[in-house]
Symmetry: C2
């Protein structure tokens, strides 16, 4: 690549919630977002799960906001005492909290006399937060600088992210997978040479469960499809007799989900 394109975008996800740390709830949002960012060409470089505690949220959000192009938070934006994401992010960036009229009004219209301080908390945002509305839910995605504040409920999380997704389109990754009946150690040198000589990212994922038709999946990735194709051919031609090729998924844009 000879053009002066900016460096590819990267991202971090901060999952906020005791329920994930206590094993009550299995994460769906980071897994969903990992696949979607991959498909969009954004490199996810960190995921952190932190408890519903102000100091932990402030520390992680600050660190990620300064280190990565995009930060996504999940959880802690509801009406109860453990929903402290919005005030914590306000403190992280030393911003005042303000009640947003466009959130307060529909809450008051819906709850009327039953409106509680908890409900009002949902409309109380760090000053300068942008609200981005989609078609599926009335709850908007919230954007403050490079921090994207999403709710933990998976259905709304996904809808809000998809509303924002056009902002993150980058150069997609191309991915090829070679499934082998081979000992991983016996191909380690070949994989290292591949990464070194072809400028691709090489992954090696052993399986020991009997359901799998292969013992190792080798992945080859780059932002340029032809590079991935060349590296895949090199790998296939360099394997010794100890490695049997079970099947090959040739270079294609990385999709979501991207499992095998």
């Amino acid at each position: 690549m000879v053009d002066a394109t900016p460096p590819p975008a990267d991202a971090a996800i901060v999952l906020i919630g005791n329920e994930l740390l206590s094993g009550k709830i299995r994460d769906e949002n980071a897994y969903y977002l990992a696949g979607r960012l991959r498909a969009l060409g954004v490199t996810l470089r960190r995921v952190a799960v932190v408890p519903d505690e102000e100091a932990a949220i402030i520390d992680e959000v600050r660190r990620c906001a300064s280190a990565y192009t995009y930060v996504f938070t999940s959880g802690g934006v509801g009406p109860t005492h453990d929903d402290i994401t919005l005030p914590s992010i306000a403190r992280a960036f030393e911003l005042p909290l303000i009640v947003d009229p466009s959130l307060e009004a529909p809450l008051r219209a819906h709850f009327g006399a039953r409106m509680t301080p908890g409900h009002l908390r949902m409309a109380t945002l760090p000053a300068g937060t942008e609200l981005v509305r989609g078609d599926d839910f009335w709850w908007p995605a919230m954007v403050l600088g490079n921090v994207h504040i999403l709710p933990g409920i998976p259905q709304i999380f996904r809808a809000n992210f998809e509303t924002l997704a056009p902002r993150f389109q980058g150069a997609p990754f191309f991915l090829a997978s070679v499934y082998l009946d081979a000992d991983e150690g016996s191909i380690a040198a070949a994989l290292e040479a591949l990464e070194r000589d072809h400028g691709v990212a090489v992954g090696s994922y052993p399986r020991i469960d009997v359901q799998a038709d292969h013992r190792v999946r080798v992945t080859i990735e780059a932002r340029d499809g032809a590079t991935v194709e060349r590296a895949t051919e090199r790998l296939l031609s360099s394997l010794g007799t100890g490695a049997r090729v079970v099947r090959v998924d040739t270079a294609a844009p990385a999709s979501c989900p991207d499992q095998g």
Copy 2:
């Protein structure tokens, strides 16, 4: 509690692997361990997913080892170029790497002339690493100070953890769940009072999917079962007419998995 017991143990998990960040593989190990630590009475306070990069591994392992009672790492202990957990942890604690004879010998016996430098890397550990062997797999759990180094393959991860599990037994948590047909905001004040007055941890988890028979699950937790029972009775008696109780799971030791 009037006895001078030490503070309850806490823990962090560091998942190491590009495959988790690129969405290729969905985490199973942190989810498994979250539930198991819960059942053992250990408070999980942080999960971080980092790429196969030395600086990221060093930074996260160092930080967690100094902040929490136990650290568990998952992944990066195989024979390929991206398996850098062991040398990175050695650098994190400024320890030399040594080849462990009790790991090298079975590798040499198995691979013979096909033994590669990659295989030898699997036997190359930070000096002082304790190896703990179980019955299910020949690969041992590795312990260096408070850092427990486990492989990413879920079957071996779980077997190695279970070999170590008797070391972590603490005071278990008791958990009650109250499933409500209620608006979360309308009960927010009651939940906050519960946490404040009864010394319990209260969680509130809304559901919007049609399969759920409830709109909010309220969880009440403490290390003392009678405290959880009292708080549950208080909650049930304090709910207003806007909240209908769908069902109640009374106080019981938190188990694994702990979903609902």
